[in-house]
Amino acid sequence: MSEDVAPHTHFQYADARHQADSAIAGMWLFLATEVLFFGGLILTWIFCRHWQPEGFTAGAHETVLWIGTTNLALLLTSSFVYALGQAAIEVGRVRMLVWCCALTAGIGVVFIGLKLLEWHIDLDEHLWPAAARFKLEGGEAAGGRLFWVFYFVATALHAVHMAIGIVAVAWIALRARRGDFGAHWHTPVTVVGLYWSFVDMVWVVLYPLIYVVGRLT
């Protein structure tokens, strides 16, 4: 194993494998904290919805379904593409990894672009919950505002995670182009992949909460 030790291994590790496993464990633990972060938000969301079902339903009907759905499809595709890149580097195909990362980051940018467009539409429609002239009125106004508080907090937090993910994936692409990764060592590719898939999964949970549940009732 001695040829493994030199380039990528910090001195507290026995070998590159030992270090790689630890890094992946660290990312899983970080994702556990993220589950509790978004979990707290989703729990309060469900709790508030329970007390204000009409307002939440009315609020949800105002969301832009086509953008949310397109973004869901985009993110699932991006995770698939990134996974292709990961499979490629495991057999040493560096160019394939670079292309997959570029495509993944590109899809991420499109996601954020669509998100900005969606926020723009929402604001035009007077759906900002603190607006003096809020779109919904009467009995649905209070719960509707509450729904839109959750909507903006959740989508903004998710967008911040997306932005960090795009930077991370772009960084992987640059390092791959520099020739840092090969079939034997590509821990950062795996670690960033875990993060990207997680951010994708968060959207998979937020999507029904925002766009679907209200429309079904």
Binding site: H10, F11, A14, A23, G26, F30, L41, T44
Partner: protein, 541 residues
């Protein structure tokens, strides 16, 4: 783990780089521990100054500071600084950071760069909080209850909350580092049941860091949104729920109590066997009690809300679970006593501090049971009884344990011995001053003096003056180590590798250790408390 590091001449970590840059960009866990220790000492004295002013105000019934507004800002500042910028990080980021890799025979933590990043996050969070507190402060109390904090409070709520949010991520990073390190970097032969209780305690603490802090983070995000835009999920006018804030807040803040005290339990579990020259009594019980406390601690948060109007059925369950969580804590107290039983006890300064921890923690824990009782809590809720209760655990208990650890590992950290006689005096003075300050507060609370009031009826004055007098003794006791420990850095006797003849891998390496901790990775063949030398006399005892 079979790498061997070759060094031409073994430089200690303190000599390995003298520039400021070599400190500020270090990834050595020992140097980062020092950076953290300096920072939290500053925060401790800022929070302590606020406490001194609180006690000064309460000398006269009408309030010596005259302004209730100022008083509100002072106790908020005291709470915020002491909880998030001293007690929560204190033992993990300093003592834990320094000792954990040494104790498990590792050369560093798993993620040294993340360790350094956590210090910068901590400093950034601290800067936010200090800015807010000195630019006018906040008058919500450290609990930030909505809708007071979101709609009515004066001052820089968002800045303080942002500071706590950022420093929360620094503790998450530390917890993550510890968990991975303890899983992955143990020396050969160091099985789980050969780990010192210290490691188990910090492991349990780290798990709480990871699982509780994110919930506080999202709560603070929602609170800030409501504060900035005047609409939010804790606002009853649009169907939100202020009690929701309390549930979310205490879901973090009750486990945070165990973040603060579990490290103390780990520390005294190292010190008491060493200075009793006996194996820790009931090792596996202590270990699993730490885990039990961490787990049950997540399900008792509602005991802070008995009078808030939450469902009485919920209150009954929370009350019962709060009794349950006291059981493993009590088991540990008996284990420490059992360890000392028929031991050859040496009253060195770390031992005196550790015994202070046991006594004050027991008192604070037992009065916690009063508060966990539904009927008694109606009377005692939000009185000085509560203040005395949690100060006994956090200040009496945890700060004593922190000083115990500081003295115990001081020779390892600095390579110098502290002056023993004056240190013993300081330890006794701290115990005395603490009781003098907080015992009267139990009585005040029982008689009905509410917390967070700037003035009080004249009949409470005698007890308040006693408490303030005690606080001045306590302040002197906290200032003493600052002087004699600093003095020892320059004039203290050179420390040998193992001045206490203690067990544990950290004592097998140099004092102070070399940058890479061990020249050859150690192999462990026995349990953690192999004190089979009951007749050993410690030097200078």
């Amino acid at each position: 783990m079979s790498q061997t590091v070759t060094a031409t001449r073994a430089l200690s970590y303190l000599e390995d780089g003298k520039t400021l840059r070599s400190w500020l960009l270090t990834t050595d866990h020992k140097r980062i521990a020092i950076l953290y220790a300096l920072s939290i000492t500053v925060f401790f004295f800022i929070g302590g100054s606020a406490a001194a002013l609180i006690r000064y105000n309460l000398i006269t019934p009408e309030g010596a500071l005259r302004s209730a507004e100022t008083y509100n800002r002072l106790f908020t500042m005291h709470g915020v600084i002491m909880v998030w910028f001293f007690l929560v990080p204190a033992a993990p980021v300093t003592i834990g950071n320094f000792v954990i890799p040494l104790m498990i025979g590792a050369r560093d933590l798993a993620f040294p760069k993340i360790n350094l990043m956590s210090w910068y996050l901590f400093m950034a969070g601290g800067a936010c909080a200090l800015y807010a507190l000195f630019a006018g402060g906040v008058d919500t109390g450290w609990t930030f209850y909505a809708p007071l904090s979101s709609n009515y409070a004066q001052g820089h709520v968002v800045a303080v909350v942002a500071g706590i949010f950022i420093s929360g991520f620094s503790t998450i990073a530390t917890g993550l580092n510890f968990v991975v390190t303890i899983h992955r970097l143990r020396a050969p032969g160091l099985t789980w049941y050969r780990l010192p209780v210290f490691i188990w305690s910090f492991y349990a603490t780290s798990v709480i860091f990871l699982l509780a802090t994110p919930v506080l983070a999202i709560t603070l995000v929602l609170l800030s949104f409501e504060r900035i835009f005047h609409v939010g999920v804790f606002d009853p006018r649009i169907g939100g729920d202020p009690l929701l804030f309390q549930h979310m807040f205490w879901f973090y803040s009750h486990p945070a109590v165990y973040i603060m005290v579990l490290p103390g339990m780990g520390i005294v579990s190292q010190i008491i066997p060493c200075f009793s020259r006996k194996e820790l009594f009931g090792y596996k019980f202590v270990v699993w009690c730490s885990i039990a406390i961490a787990v049950i601690g997540f399900f008792v948060w509602g005991h802070h809300m008995f009078v808030s109007g939450q469902s009485p059925y919920a209150s009954i369950v929370f009350s019962l679970l709060s009794y349950f969580v006291a059981v493993p804590s009590a088991i540990k107290v008996f284990n420490w006593l059992g360890t000392m039983h028929k031991g050859r006890i040496h009253f060195n300064a770390p031992m005196i501090y550790a015994l202070g921890f046991v006594g004050l923690f027991t008192s604070g824990g037992l009065t916690g049971l009063f508060l966990a009782a539904l009927a008694a809590d109606v009377h005692l809720h939000d009185t000085y009884f509560v203040i005395a209760h949690f100060h006994f655990i956090m200040v009496g208990g945890m700060v004593s344990a922190y000083f115990a650890a500081l003295h115990f590992w001081w020779p390892k950290i600095t390579g110098r011995m502290y002056p023993e006689t004056i240190a013993r005096g300081a330890a006794l003075l701290m115990f005395l001053g603490f009781n003098f300050t907080f015992l009267p507060q139990y009585i005040l609370g029982y008689l009905g003096m509410p917390r967070r009031y700037h003035s009080y009826p004249p009949e409470f004055q005698v007890l308040n003056v006693l408490s303030s007098a005690g606080a001045s003794i306590l302040a002197a006791a906290y200032a003493l180590p600052l002087f004699y420990l600093t003095w020892s850095l320059f004039r203290g006797e050179r420390a040998p590798r193992n001045p206490w003849r203690a067990t544990g891998l950290e004592w097998t390496t140099d004092s102070p250790p070399i940058t890479k901790n061990f020249l050859v990775t150690p192999t462990v063949t026995s349990g953690p408390y192999d004190y089979n030398d009951p007749h050993t006399k410690l030097a200078d005892v």
